[in-house]
């Protein structure tokens, strides 16, 4: 099972993501914004990062860009999980280095299937 970092400023949403992933046996760490996620990423390694886009302090796209600059995270899948469904944001996320995009609210089974797929 994988070590996953869930990043979202909404406590309830982050909790629901973490609950879904833990239910599938994954180990989940949580961060409430991009900056705290980067701090965690520097002190440990994760197999996958799931991040919201709109967050205070540091948004998800800036976080992806910063994470991709870290040697340990160049190849780690990063999924954006957000209510944003605009193409522009998706393209921006992709350009920053995001692996994929999931729209909230998510189907728990679909989330797990996507996680399984990107983890290979």
């Amino acid at each position: 099972m994988a070590k996953i970092l869930a990043v979202d400023d909404s406590v309830s949403m982050r909790g629901m993501v973490a609950f879904t992933l833990r239910g599938a046996g994954h180990e989940v760490a949580e961060a409430e914004n991009g900056q705290l996620a980067l701090d965690l990423a520097q002190t440990g390694t994760f197999d996958l990062v799931l991040a919201d886009v709109n967050m205070p302090v540091m948004d998800g796209i800036t976080m992806v860009r910063a994470m991709r600059a870290m040697p340990a995270y160049k190849g780690v899948p990063i999924l954006m999980l957000t209510t944003e469904s605009h193409t522009e944001k998706k393209l921006e996320g992709k350009a920053a280095g995001a692996t994929g995009w999931l729209v909230k609210p998510f189907d728990p089974d679909q989330l797990l299937a996507t996680v399984k797929r990107v983890l290979g």
Binding site: G15, P105, D107
Partner: protein, 172 residues
């Protein structure tokens, strides 16, 4: 265990609930107090205004009509429970929703009463989707009682109507 951790309202939510109570909004604290009282003393006959919960099958139970508009209620009857969703069903305003769903989680047959829902947000719909999945995983069933037009529209808009298995709106 993990679910209980998740469904336990976060501190901020609990504080909001406490603030709401002290504001006198719908006497939430009083009703929840009665709920605990019923659990401790099942023989107690609840007054008509006790609308939160009934622990025994024959007890006076809540009906959606008697609920205050902002209140979520759980009515438990011998292995089944009905959770009445509030008119304002947004997680940002309804920190107690998680706790109410948790209370119903141990039952086998759960009815979600969505008749009163006028507003609902993404997080609340997400919670309902997760709740439904968890109940099914435990071998229970979730059914709906009259989901409102607003609930239907929001679930359709966000692509969760099928996942939540919302029934069609009855023609007026």
């Amino acid at each position: 265990m993990a679910l209980k951790r998740l469904l336990k309202p976060p501190i901020a939510s609990r504080q909001r609930r406490q603030r709401k109570s002290t504001d006198g909004a719908e006497q939430m604290a009083g009703k929840r107090g009665v709920k605990h009282g019923v659990a401790a003393a099942p023989q107690r006959k609840a007054p008509v205004t006790d609308t939160s919960i009934a622990a025994s099958p024959a007890a006076e139970v809540a009906t959606p009509e008697t609920l205050a508009p902002e209140e979520t209620a759980v009515v438990a009857v011998a292995g089944s429970a009905m959770v009445a969703l509030p008119a304002d069903c947004r997680m940002s305003t309804q920190g107690g929703l998680m706790a109410e769903l948790l209370r119903a989680l141990d039952e086998h047959a759960i009815v979600l009463d969505g008749q009163a829902v006028e507003r609902i947000d993404t997080a609340a719909l997400q919670l309902l989707a997760l709740f439904r999945r968890e109940v099914n995983t435990r071998g229970g069933t979730v059914s709906w009682r009259g989901p409102s037009v607003a609930l239907h529209e929001a679930a359709n808009l966000l692509g969760l109507a099928t996942l939540l298995e919302l029934p069609a709106i009855a023609p007026v």
